[in-house]
């Protein structure tokens, strides 16, 4: 049976992070979920709008919610952590303040009815890939992984409402399920530098550098994450990071959807892994290779 659920890709998943969408769709198919894209969606406003203009910062996500409601979609999967944060914050504001809801109705010419709810990738996976159910793990991801949640996947607590915001475990549990060994590390909810990647690459180098350093020094072989912005900083900013720390990092960063889809049998070639700047060979890791930089390749 195929379950239908709303889907808001946002700009990243159809642009710089196409592999996130590619792997998500492959995974959704394995899980028996059909993703219904919201018709005529627009930018959610992250990361600029809400910092510059509160009205705009709420109106953009509100329009997305209204579009979803019109299409009869009660739940919308928002894979990008930043988009999710904007949509969830907007729902929070609209439910809390009737005056804001009325004002935005004037601006947009339509009112949010409160029926549509955004869900993030962790909630989605928790629901459709629950413990002890779902498709069989075919290619266990037998390696040490550092689950990286970043800022927006589990916070702010009062809006996202996950327990243990300082030490989330959901992704760790998912990784254990697909045969990986999640490490206990210190930077799972630290900031990667996010949107400062353009104006202040030096700060991103420092913050993302600390993340890579901790994950590497604790023996992780892959960083698993769920945010296009985090991925950009941890994957694309290596040169800046290495210049800043004076160290070389070969640890790859992949999306949680890529990791799970691979474990459920989607061939590595269909996960967009080639789009990453830091090379990753899941086959090699699975063969019990200590890390991408050492030991000669063994074929399976």
């Amino acid at each position: 049976m195929v379950v239908q659920i709303g889907y808001f890709p946002g700009c990243s998943l159809q642009g710089s992070s196409r592999e996130f969408e590619q792997s998500l769709k492959a995974l959704a198919e394995k899980l028996g979920v059909s993703l219904e894209e919201i018709p005529d969606w627009n930018c959610c406003g992250a990361s600029a709008a809400h910092n510059l203009n509160n009205e705009l910062g709420l109106a953009l996500p509100a329009r997305i919610l209204i579009q979803a409601e019109r299409a009869g979609l009660e739940e919308i999967l928002v894979p990008c952590a930043a988009c999710f944060s904007r949509l969830a914050s907007t729902v929070h504001e609209l439910n809390k303040h009737a005056s804001v809801r009325r004002h935005l109705a004037d601006v947009l010419g339509a009112e949010y009815g409160g029926k549509t709810r955004p869900i993030n990738i962790l909630e989605f996976l928790g629901r459709f890939f629950p413990e002890g159910q779902g498709p069989e793990v075919i290619q266990p991801l037998a390696c040490k992984v550092a689950c990286y949640y970043g800022c927006l996947l589990v916070r702010p607590t009062e809006i996202v409402g996950r327990d243990r915001p300082e030490d989330p475990q959901e992704m760790d549990r998912l990784m254990s399920r697909v045969g990986a060994e999640p490490i206990d590390w210190a930077f799972k909810v630290d900031c990667c530098g996010a949107g400062l990647t353009i104006p202040r690459p030096d700060l991103v180098a420092r913050l993302s550098g600390a993340i890579l350093e901790d994950a590497t020094s604790r023996g992780a072989q892959i960083i698993v994450l769920a945010c296009p912005m985090c991925h950009t900083n941890l994957d694309m900013r290596r040169a800046d990071i290495e210049r800043f720390t004076g160290k070389r990092y070969t640890i790859p960063a992949i999306y949680v959807t890529q990791a799970i889809a691979y474990a459920l049998g989607v061939p590595a070639g269909e996960l967009g892994l080639k789009r990453h700047l830091v090379p990753i060979n899941l086959e090699k890791l699975r063969a019990g290779d200590a890390g991408p930089a050492s030991a000669p390749a063994t074929s399976q």
């Binding site: 607590t157 300082e166 030490d167 206990d184 590390w185 210190a186 930077f187 630290d190 020094s217």
Partner: protein
């Protein structure tokens, strides 16, 4: 025709700013039966009360309505005023135009009209009031003190020294509480044990104190002056009377690796144990969860070795019933659980410890004999970070309140560490330094200026390990919010003080209320700080809110004074607001049909059975009767009675219907 007087109080601005009191008095004057109606700024003051007394005499009033605050606040005051002027106190009623009107509405005519309506209702009620007289009950001059920490000890000693009997119940094997675990105490740095243990001995030896250690309250029934408590004496598996406390059993016990509660899990104890050498009573108890005899059926070494034959594996819990006249609840506080701070790694890193654990490290009776050595490898830490407000004042953690004791004990910890490790570095992360108290701020300044504790104003976001050090990541908000990383050898969390686990359950047993954090509620935050809303039950110490030792002791003495005052009278006057069953002349005798539905719903077991007999002794039928000593006047029986045979004095059906009709 009634002669009612109406007295409208402004309560300063509380009522006067919202309600037009003069107009309420004027409107009330025209109500049928009202012969006198005035308003005054403070009716509860002496001149205000005089207005009432004079009017009663001059106008020959037979009913008084005071339109003012809640009857909880001043009903006893005004009833007393009326009886002083010769009017039965129960012919005085209060119309609550403050909490029920001025505090909850905006200023305006509608609000004034509501106040007038409330007065009108009360006038209709008071017309139907009957004079009642207080019920006199005897007082059992024995106090029950729950909790044997410093507050319970102080309260027990004070009550016992005033000549009354005390039953002290402690759930742990020894009295002493948290204070016995502390090293030195602020602001004088005198040793906690040295000032506490003599008090503990005094409790044990006092002729007026009966100590039930390792016991818990099972239930409490009755009312002020006449409670009946059931106490569960948990089975020690050791006969206290025979045991001479030689200690051979715990020396030879083979289960030696059980985390010691007294040492806050920093040391081990055996399965048969005395919590600490200075324990009172100094008699061991068997921890059946960990004892080999109880878990595997094999062992029994203690029993074989005991020179007096005191070990009794068959010993069972015992229930003891006692009659007491007052209860002092001094059950103390708890410390947040390990899982509370995933970001600080408490429970994950051995060298991240709580303040209570640091007390054990610093204590001469502790696992390191007072040397500050870190738990992981026993080395002396060179850099120690203290984190104040670990959990407190953090609504995201569900604890928005200040735990009050942490600023002071953190300064003390930093000081004790520096005194013992001169070359070491002590950092304290804090939000504000709250050192209100005699010699308190001087103490904190001493830690900073003389002992060079390095205070950093800011919070810590995370603690993690890196190359064998604990990295404390925080911010210094006084230096331009600079992010800060300190590599520490040990971290001490000044964890939030929380209510004891089980506090809600105890509150329900005692019929007392608790706040949203499960601390017990005092009757009035300012003027009745040691009483609860249940008469005869008093509070002492940190079960009411986080408190330090001087405050706990002061409150305990306060509670003891209240108990002594209660016990100073031979009998007590109780409110006569009790239910009564209808009685009339033969041949009806009573409207009661004897269904006893009232008996099944009465929460106080106040309904008794009475056999009605004719004059020549023939049984007519069995009807209900209310024991006025037990009845608390809740009115549940009245609501349930199908034939309206039960009524509540002071709140009769007739009175309440009259109130409602007055509105129509």
């Amino acid at each position: 025709m009634s002669r009612i007087g109406v007295f409208v109080c402004h309560c300063g601005e509380n009522i006067g700013a919202t309600v037009d009191c003069a107009s309420v008095a004027e409107r009330s004057a025209s109500l049928p039966g009202v012969v006198h109606s005035i308003d005054y700024k403070y009716m509860c003051s002496d001149p205000g009360q005089n207005l009432i007394r004079e009017a009663i005499r001059e106008k020959r009033l037979d009913g008084v309505v005071v339109a003012a605050c809640s009857p909880r606040m001043h009903e006893p005051t005004f009833r007393r005023t009326c009886s002083e002027a010769g009017l039965n106190g129960f012919l005085c009623e209060m119309a609550n135009i403050r909490e029920h009107c001025s505090w909850v509405h905006d200023k305006g005519e509608v609000t004034t009209r509501k106040a007038a309506d409330l007065v009108c209702m009360t006038v209709e009620k008071v017309k139907r009031n009957r004079p009642l007289s207080a019920i006199r009950v005897p007082v059992t001059k024995t106090a029950l003190v729950l909790g044997g920490g410093i507050a319970g000890i102080q309260a027990s000693l004070d009550i016992a020294n005033s000549g009354h009997k005390v039953i002290l119940v402690e759930k742990d094997p020894s009295i002493g509480g948290h204070m016995s675990q502390l090293s030195e105490t602020f602001p004088t740095l005198d040793c906690s044990q040295c000032i506490l243990t003599p008090r503990m001995v005094e409790v044990a030896q006092h002729p007026n104190i009966t100590l039930f250690s390792y016991s818990e309250l099972e239930s409490l029934d009755g009312f002020i002056g006449n409670f009946r408590a059931r106490i569960r004496k948990k089975a020690r598996k050791v006969n206290e009377k025979i045991c001479n406390g030689c200690g051979l059993c715990s020396q030879k016990c083979p289960s030696k690796k059980i985390p010691s509660e007294f040492n806050a899990a920093l040391g081990n104890r055996t399965a048969i144990y005395v919590p600490f050498p200075q324990a009172v009573p100094n008699k061991p108890v068997i921890d059946t969860q960990n004892c080999r005899y109880f878990t595997t059926g094999k062992c029994g070494i203690c029993k074989k070795l005991c020179p007096t034959g005191a070990i009794d594996f068959e010993q069972a819990d015992e229930i003891v019933e006692v009659d007491v006249g007052a209860v002092v609840c001094a059950t103390g506080f708890g410390v947040v659980q390990a899982d509370f701070f995933p970001e600080y790694g408490y429970g994950k890193y051995k060298d991240v410890i709580t303040g209570l654990q640091f007390e054990r490290l610093a204590s001469a009776s502790g696992p390191t004999l007072g040397e500050i050595r870190r738990p992981s490898d026993g080395t002396v830490p060179q850099t120690v970070v203290f984190i104040a407000c670990a959990g407190s004042r953090d609504s995201a953690k569900g604890i928005p309140y200040c735990s009050k004791i942490c600023c002071m004990y953190t300064a003390k910890h930093a000081m004790l560490y520096k005194h013992k490790q001169h070359s070491g570095k002590a950092y304290v992360f804090y939000m504000d330094i709250r050192a209100g108290g005699k010699n308190y701020d001087e103490f904190v300044r001493r830690a900073i200026e003389e002992d060079h504790a390095h205070y950093v104003r800011g919070r810590v976001s995370r603690i993690f390990d890196r190359h064998g050090k604990l990295v404390v990541k925080g911010v210094d908000t006084l230096l331009g919010s600079r992010p800060l990383e300190i590599e520490a050898d040990m971290v001490v969390l000044a964890t939030a003080a929380v209510a004891n686990p089980g506090a809600e359950e105890l509150a329900q047993k005692l019929h007392i209320s608790y706040d949203s954090y499960s601390f017990f509620s005092e009757a009035h935050p300012k003027l009745r700080p040691v009483e609860t809303n249940t008469a005869g039950i008093f509070l002492a110490g940190a079960c009411q809110a986080p408190k330090d030792i001087p405050e706990s002791v002061a409150q305990a003495s306060g509670a003891a004074a209240k108990v002594a005052a209660l016990f100073s009278k031979a009998e007590l006057a109780r409110e006569p607001v009790v239910a009564s069953v209808h009685r009339c002349a033969p041949p009806d005798y009573s409207r009661c049909t004897g269904c006893f539905l009232c008996e099944t719903v009465c929460p106080y077991r106040a309904i008794e059975q009475e056999t009605l007999k004719t004059r020549d002794g023939k049984t007519v039928r069995v009807v209900a009767r209310v024991n006025p000593g037990l009845c608390q006047g809740c009115g549940t029986c009245v609501a349930l009675c199908r034939v309206k045979a039960i009524d509540l004095d002071g709140f009769t059906n007739e009175q309440l219907y009259a109130e409602v009709r007055a509105l129509a």
